[in-house]
């Protein structure tokens, strides 16, 4: 069971080269197959996730959540997706059409791009970059541009406010996000995600870096635009923020991309702090799924408990609390590393 | 400030206002019926000298040939109360605005203007408040015809 997917990929490459294709072409085809798989997984995953979110919020609020379609209402999201797909695509006349149309597409593309470096099990990385963490952070921050595009292109004040908030928030929270990961990178000695996961075979980094875990968790919530940091959307204040003017499938794409981001960040968090694919008995890829889902349920739990923080509090929290804390964490980690090295560990 | 003596207040006010002020009372209120031209002065006096700092209610009644403005005043925390009335003829439906005395008169006067059509001299923003701006007529007037 452990090596199912690795074997499939290996067999596929072998078969392709057996057909007489060059190794490079076979790799390319394999890459395409992997991409298609990722997109399918992402879409299916989002369907499950939306269902899960609605179920979790329902249970927290002593409701049942979706329960009509399929077992436990599992197919409700599919029905919703079909509804959204068949809805009229309204583009308001005063919008900047090109930007308005392309924003959701960029958003989803960028979200899917995050999956390239994520190890989804032992030896299961599409491109095991040696600067994987760096890649993840930089691509992840691109999503803000899409929100800005959506907000600007909509030609709506609410949308623009939401977009501006998103930009401000991203600028503040990118820094603690990267800083909190630095501690882990220092201990692991690598930015390659598979190395980081492998380095946790003895002890998970959440034990070594608890402060970094908490700061990363908070910064990631802000980065994901999820409650209590859902400034750009903020439906009680900005109606729907950057998404106000979007309808039908374009709006659904935003939704899809947000959840795709959520999965990616949760997966990164399990890789960086929760031991990645490490775990007893079960195959590695199952472990990472379990960990990712647990992290996501915690995200949902937070969202359905807390009120939205105010914009200026959000910023001052980042600059006055998170950044100093993460900097201190880096300092302490560095000193501790040197001390332990001196002690000959 | 302690509880004021209503009789004393009324005599003092009568001295001050002369024949412009008439006095009445029922089970619940002492009524001060004042000429519209002296109303602003009376109100300022009531607020500044007698501590009626809370204008609870401000409304109007259409009596066909005349409009009556009714003000219910209370004082916090002494809990004195007095009611002031003033009558203006229907053809010249204008009274002094009390926004300068109590800010709470702002919207209540706008409401009276909106629904009853009495204008308030010195009101900073005399526009309709409940009905749409392009609405014609003032529905609480007795001559307003209901469509049905």
């Amino acid at each position: 069971m452990e090596n199912w997917f690795v074997n499939i990929a290996y067999a596929l490459t072998n078969w392709l080269t057996g057909l007489g294709l060059s190794a490079g072409l076979a790799d390319f085809i394999l890459l395409v197959v992997q991409w298609v798989c990722i997109i399918i997984i992402v879409t299916l995953n989002v369907i499950v996730l939306i269902w899960l979110e609605r179920k979790v919020s329902g249970f927290i609020q002593q409701r049942l959540g979706p329960n009509r379609l399929g077992p436990f209402g599992m197919f409700q999201t599919i029905a919703d997706a079909i509804k959204l797909l068949t809805k009229e695509d309204i583009i308001p006349s005063a919008t900047d059409k090109l930007i308005f149309r392309t924003a959701p597409m960029f958003f989803i593309i960028i979200s899917v791009m995050l999956y390239v470096v994520l190890p989804m099990g032992e030896n299961m990385v599409i491109a095991d970059l040696n600067a994987g963490v760096f890649y993840f952070i930089s691509v992840g921050s691109l999503t803000t541009i899409c929100l800005l595009m959506a907000g600007w292109g909509s030609n709506n004040k609410w949308s623009l406010l939401g977009a501006m908030r998103s930009v401000a928030q991203m600028i503040s929270y990118e820094i603690p996000l990267a800083f909190s990961l630095l501690g882990v990178i220092m201990i692991a000695g690598s930015m390659r995600l598979s190395d980081i996961a492998a380095a946790q075979s003895n002890v998970w980094f959440i034990v070594l870096q608890p402060v970094a875990f908490i700061t990363y968790f908070i910064a990631a919530t802000a980065e994901l635009n999820r409650g209590p940091f859902d400034m750009p959307e903020a439906e009680q204040e900005l109606t729907a923020g950057a998404y106000t003017e979007y309808t039908g499938m374009r709006w659904a794409l935003f939704f899809l991309a947000e959840y795709t981001n959520l999965v990616a960040v949760s997966a990164l968090m399990s890789t960086m702090f929760l031991g990645g694919w490490q775990g007893p008995f079960l195959p590695s890829w199952l472990w990472i799924i379990i960990k990712t889902y647990l992290v996501m349920i915690v995200f949902m739990w937070l969202k359905w408990t807390f009120p939205r923080i105010r914009m200026d509090h959000l910023m001052s929290f980042s600059w006055k609390v998170l950044i100093p804390v993460t900097l201190a964490n880096i300092l302490v980690t560095g000193i501790a590393l040197q001390v332990f090295k001196g002690m000959g560990w | 400030m302690s509880k004021i003596n209503p009789e004393k207040m009324i005599t003092e006010l009568q001295e001050l206002m002369g024949d412009k002020l008439q006095v009445g009372s029922d089970d619940y209120f002492n009524w001060l019926i004042i000429n519209p031209d002296a109303m602003l002065g009376l109100m300022q006096c009531l607020k500044n000298d007698y501590g009626f700092n809370y204008l609870a209610n401000l409304t109007s009644v259409d009596y066909g040939d005349a409009f009556e403005m009714i003000y219910h005043l209370y004082s916090i925390p002494d809990n004195n109360k007095v009611a002031v009335k003033t009558r203006v003829p229907a053809e010249a439906a204008q009274v002094d605005s009390l926004v300068s005395v109590w800010s709470t008169a702002d919207w209540q006067e706008r409401e009276v203007f909106d629904l009853m059509g009495i204008t308030f001299k010195g009101h900073p923003n005399m526009i309709r408040i409940l009905l749409p701006d392009e609405f014609e007529g003032h529905p609480l007037r007795k001559d307003f015809k209901l469509e049905r």
């Binding site: 329902g58 249970f59 002593q62 049942l64 408990t305 | -």
Partner: protein, 244 residues
């Protein structure tokens, strides 16, 4: 400590995550309605004395009726009664005004209709049906004094009978539970009988004829119908329904 409130909130929501749900699955599971719940306004024309108090009490002109003077007494006869439910505020003023309990609220709250006209509830009471249906048994006020009518001639009688039967059929179609309530003992039985008659038009016509011609026989037949239906239902229930 800062953050304690946040954790407390998280603890509360976590506790509720595993608690029992409080929602009612509405279409399958009907909500529990209190006895006084005001659903749809109903009119029991057997009890109406055409006093007009309800229409005077109504703030919104929901209620209206047509009547004609009874030639035999000083009272009035009701021809039709209209409840225009779309303007109803369910304020209970008419029910309180009614001296005989003619108006009452039932527990039906599913009052939406596709057409505006369907919201209106119209009770039309044909003259001849009044004579038959409103045989006063439990209502304190007599509406029609049938004894005082002169004895009709034979063919006239035949025509009148046919007319009565027709009226009965309409009554059975319009408000079956009321119409058959005299035949059977309990309201449940009346409801079952009403269902049977609504389902089968032949039975309905037969029953209407019987009710005009031979009251006793009609009662017996009705009881037989009800018993058979109950038996059927029991068998069905035993075989098909799983225990909850």
């Amino acid at each position: 400590m800062k953050g304690k409130g946040l954790l407390e909130g998280l603890w509360i929501t976590l506790r509720h995550l595993f608690e029992r749900e409080i929602t009612i699955q509405y279409p399958e599971q009907m909500p529990y309605l209190q006895e006084r719940f005001r659903g749809c306004l109903q009119f029991d024309y057997k009890k109406c004395i055409v006093c007009g108090l309800c229409t005077k009490a109504c703030p919104n002109n929901v209620l209206s009726y047509e009547s004609e003077p009874d030639p035999n007494s000083k009272k009035k006869l009701l021809i039709s009664y209209t409840i225009d439910l779309q303007y109803c505020m369910f304020c209970n003023l008419c029910v309180e005004a009614c001296p005989t309990g003619t108006l009452y609220f039932n527990h039906n709250f599913e009052l939406s209709e596709y057409q505006r006209d369907d919201i209106k509830i119209v009770y039309e009471i044909p003259r001849s049906a009044q004579a038959v249906i409103s045989e006063p048994v439990d209502s304190p006020i007599e509406m029609v004094d049938s004894d005082s009518e002169p004895a009709p001639q034979p063919d006239e009688e035949e025509a009148k009978k046919q007319k009565q039967i027709n009226a009965m059929i309409t009554a059975l179609q319009k408000n079956p539970v009321k119409a058959v309530s005299k035949l059977v003992e309990s309201e449940d039985q009346a409801r079952i009988l009403a269902d049977i008659l609504q389902a089968d038009e032949k039975k309905l016509i037969r029953m209407a004829t019987m009710m005009i011609e031979d009251r006793e026989k009609a009662g017996k037949v009705a009881l037989a119908f009800v018993n058979k239906e109950l038996k059927d239902r029991q068998q069905e229930g035993g075989a098909g329904n799983e225990p909850e």
